[in-house]
């Protein structure tokens, strides 16, 4: 069985083993624990919580968003399913309850997420925790929902569990398996990679054309589906929905299950939640001290083992492999690099990027004071200047991270100022950052792939559902990513690494920017901290981009490099252009020499300039 993603197979071998074990255990559990109604009810309760944990994992583990109130969604689903089942016979089947649950959860998730996602992580965490506190408090005051005693379906003469008994339990196991598959489909697709970018950094996401707001909202809605199913299954099996079913503490317990099992993995949250709930049901002592034990486990995970039980399992198996003298299997080797840029040929000639009289002030500081610059396709254009001269500000303005005070920026006839950065990225501007921004805990190749996905020719749903078109787009993105990684001089063995050396981080960023199929790429101090060999690779990469017809804007302190690769140089000083021309013209400019020698004497750039060579 070949895994479709470069990063996942190692994780999957252990996760697959874990899931398989869990599945077998899950199926035979009633034969071990007992088959009377009470025992089955307890087992079904574990299943419902595990479904909720899998939902929480999508938003918390995949997308890294602080969602602390899964029981809010679970609660509304359960209440709606119970209410409708009590009043309408048609709503009394398991399927109907799950559908009602999903719809209710989606509506509430949308209502909360739409405003709450506009603000920081922080607020989101607290607002969703508040939601978990609010749902039971509100329903406990509404008589139609049974107030503080809740809704019991036992009183409904027409409500008969069908399926019932062990069959009902096994259906729950099947649902959980489907939810695990759903998580996996999301995680290992382009959508999963989008979520991974917002987990790492919003700015990184925008630089490859992903709208963080949209991606976060998507993750919330995706998470609502398992939470809603959990609510429906809970009500159907327990035949009861009360404020006590959804205390705020339950949300914290589910959070504990997810992070203890291993947030971000497929099997971890299900394993963690099942173990914790099972322990508190079957071990009396555990139940009494449940809060203390869960709390301590949460602390231990946060402080010492951020990857949870699955992470520990990975480390153990790695150690066993090492002891056996075997290498860890190489994650699904990225495809070999094609000879030339895939889909690079036959693109229409690109228009010039023109910034006119650009101004930007931060408080009282006029960072840019009427700067004009023209970038042409297939040309390397360097912006140099002392610290604080406005180089990075210019770059951030053009790529959309700051708003202009005045002036305009166009590509051909299209104005690109006053657009959010993800739009600018989609308009054809790729970029790197002064401090490299890379995906956390992902192999290097995934970073380039995140850039290549941007140009993918299939919708997200086709990618998730693995339609032929989605698979073709995925293959094309991989090929492109591989080619771009190769173009910047990264070797295949570099691409498997999770821990990436500094020099490679910069090269990876360049590869990622190239992978977005940009018309222009902006490199923010790409040579800082690179070794001589890596600088050579960088130069080669710039040359590849140039030859491909891409316009390169480079902000760099290392003037020898600049003079070697740039065809045009613009010198900024205190927010103004003081010189512009070919490297030879600029280095002969008296004003430039005065600014560098007079004001900035002693910096690395200065000493490089005055060095007789």
């Amino acid at each position: 069985m070949r895994a479709p993603t470069g990063s996942l197979p190692r994780a999957l071998t252990i996760e697959r083993a874990g899931l398989l074990l869990l599945l077998v255990l899950g199926i035979v559990m009633p034969y071990l624990a007992g088959q009377d109604i009470f025992e089955l009810g307890q087992l079904e309760y574990i299943l419902a919580l595990a479904m909720m944990a899998a939902g929480l994992n999508i938003v918390l583990g995949f997308a890294g968003q602080l969602f602390l109130g899964p029981t809010g969604l679970f609660g509304i689903s359960g209440y709606m399913a119970a209410y409708l089942a009590l009043h309408y016979q048609i709503a009394q089947s398991l399927l109907a309850m799950c559908i009602v649950g999903v719809v209710a959860a989606l509506v509430l998730a949308g209502l909360v997420a739409l405003p709450a996602l506009r603000i920081s992580q922080f607020y989101l965490g607290m607002i969703t925790l508040f939601l978990a506190l609010m749902i039971p408090a509100v329903f406990s005051r509404i008589n139609a929902f049974g107030a503080s005693t809740g809704i019991s379906l036992v009183v409904s003469p027409t409500f008969l569990q069908h399926p019932s008994g062990i069959a009902l339990y096994e259906v729950g196991v099947a649902i959980l398996l489907v939810i695990a598959a759903y998580s996996w489909l999301i995680r290992s697709s382009r959508l999963g990679r989008q979520l991974a970018t917002i987990k790492s950094d919003d700015v990184l996401a925008t630089s490859v054309g992903i709208s963080p707001y949209r991606a976060k909202l998507t993750s919330f809605l995706l998470a609502a589906v398992p939470c809603g199913i959990a609510g429906g299954y809970y009500v159907y099996t327990q035949q009861l929905m009360s404020p006590g079913s959804v205390s705020a503490t339950l949300s914290i317990n589910v959070l504990a299950g997810v992070v203890i099992g291993g947030s971000g993995t497929i099997a971890g949250p299900i394993v963690g939640m099942s173990l914790l709930t099972g322990a508190s049901q079957y071990l009396g002592v555990f139940h009494t001290y449940q809060g203390i034990i869960f709390g301590l486990l949460l602390i231990v995970v946060a402080v010492a083992m951020p990857e949870g039980l699955i992470g520990v399992a990975h480390r153990l198996t790695d150690r066993v492999r090492e002891a056996l003298g075997r290498r860890r299997p190489v994650p699904g080797a990225p495809p070999a690099a094609p000879e030339r840029a895939p889909d690079g040929a036959a693109r229409p000639p690109r228009p010039a990027l023109v910034a006119t009289d650009v101004r930007k002030a931060f408080g009282g500081v006029q960072a840019l004071d009427g700067v004009s610059i023209t970038l042409r396709p297939g040309q390397v254009h360097a912006v140099v200047g002392p610290n604080g001269s406005g180089k990075t500000t210019l770059l951030n303005l053009i790529s959309g991270y700051y708003l202009l005070d005045s002036g305009e920026i166009r590509i051909g006839d299209t104005r690109i100022d006053h657009q959010p950065p993800e739009r600018t990225a989609r308009a054809g501007i790729g970029r790197t950052f002064q401090t490299p921004k890379l995906l956390l805990n992902e192999p290097a190749f995934e970073n380039v792939l995140a850039g290549a996905d941007h140009a993918a020719g299939a919708s997200l749903w086709q990618a998730v559902c693995r339609t032929p078109k989605g698979r073709a787009a995925d293959r094309a993105a991989r090929a492109r990513a591989r080619w771009c990684a190769d173009a910047v001089g990264l070797r295949p063995e570099d691409l498997d690494k999770h821990v990436i050396p500094h020099g490679h981080q910069r090269l990876l960023e360049v590869a990622r920017a190239l992978a977005t199929r940009p018309d222009y790429i902006f490199l923010d101090e790409p040579a800082a901290g690179l070794s001589i060999a890596e600088v050579a690779e960088l130069k080669r990469a710039v040359e590849v981009a140039r030859a491909d017809g891409i316009g390169v804007l480079i902000v760099e302190h290392n003037l020898p490099i600049v003079f070697e690769i740039a065809e045009q140089v613009t010198v900024l000083h205190q927010g103004k252009v003081i010189a512009h021309g070919t490297p030879a013209e600029v280095s002969a400019d008296a004003e430039v020499a005065r600014v560098y020698l007079g004001r900035d004497y002693g910096t690395r750039a200065t000493t490089k300039v005055v060095e007789p060579s």
């Binding site: 506009r118 700015v203 914290i252 949460l298």
Partner: protein, 295 residues
């Protein structure tokens, strides 16, 4: 109208309690960038401890105060050493780890207190102040309410003086601007974090002692106060003490008016409604603080 003014007075009093919790957050957050999710539970520990001291041990107020305050500060320091400092040392900034570890800690202390006291609501401790109050134009200003508001004012003024006038306070404020600045003051980040938690624990203890005589409490109220304090901060705008005051008073007053005109059944919705209304119009809260550089 009479009712309106009464609700207003009650709102200011309730808001003062939220403000005390909110300021506790701010004190810790400014120096460490940690949002302490156990803040409400620290106040809960103070409530329960003062109940134990006064109603079970029959201590007088003075003895209760001088015992409960150091005790809560001690719990806050244990929290800092056990769940915050290890992350600080690992160089963790922001992110999910803080939420999980401080939430874990709050779960632990809530469970311990529940095991000791049971989960049923315990009676409020006797207040040194009578139920009556001043009559101002028909509106009663209760002594107990005024005591809470007075406590809030004293804490705010004391903190402003501490931050503005003392060397240590200025050093802590500097850390808020730039974490590396703390090493320039000669105080290690680790010590600074302990100082911040001690101060946060002190504020939480005072909040708990102010709440204890007012209302019935049980070990589960901690999470409630944690969230209400957060709502106050979010409404007011993060990081500034002035924002915390404005947000807390607005939240308290809105809740009481909600009770008066809409009904107390769904009071819990009021806070979220106010927050969402504020955030939709002013995403940074009422008192906008600095906007961070993105790239």
């Amino acid at each position: 109208m009479q009712l309106f003014f009464s609700a207003l007075v009650a709102g200011v009093a309730v808001g003062s309690l939220y403000g005390l919790i909110g300021i506790g957050y701010t004190v810790i957050f400014n120096a460490t960038r940690v949002f302490n999710l156990a803040q409400g539970d620290l106040a809960m520990v103070a409530i329960m401890a003062s109940y134990f001291a006064q109603d079970v041990l029959h201590w007088d107020e003075f003895l209760t105060f001088i015992t409960v305050i150091p005790f809560v500060v001690l719990v806050a320091l244990i929290e800092e050493r056990a769940v915050v400092n290890p992350l600080l040392r690992r160089g963790e900034r922001g992110g999910i780890a803080w939420f999980i570890s401080t939430l874990g800690f709050s779960l632990v202390i809530e469970t311990i207190v529940s095991l000791l006291f049971g989960t049923h609501a315990i009676v409020a401790i006797p207040s040194p102040f009578p139920v009556s109050g001043f009559n101002v134009g028909g509106t009663i200003l209760g002594y107990r309410q005024m005591f809470v508001v007075g406590t809030f004012v004293v804490v705010v003024v004391a903190l402003e003086l501490f931050y503005g006038r003392t060397w240590l306070g200025r050093a802590m404020r500097a850390t808020a601007q730039d974490r590396d600045a703390s090493s320039l003051t000669g105080i290690s980040p680790s010590t600074m974090s302990m100082l911040a938690f001690a101060l946060g624990g002190l504020v939480a203890a005072i909040a708990g002692l102010a709440i204890a005589p007012l209302t019935f409490s049980n070990p589960a109220v901690g999470l409630n106060y944690t969230l209400k304090g957060f709502l106050a901060l979010a409404i007011g705008g993060f990081g500034s003490i002035r924002g915390a005051i404005a947000g807390a008073l607005l939240l308290g007053v809105c809740e009481q008016l909600w009770d008066l005109y809409i009904g107390s059944n769904f009071e819990i919705v009021a806070g979220l409604a106010v927050l969402l209304a504020v955030l939709l119009t002013r995403p940074e809260g009422l008192f906008r603080t600095t906007v961070a550089r993105v790239v």
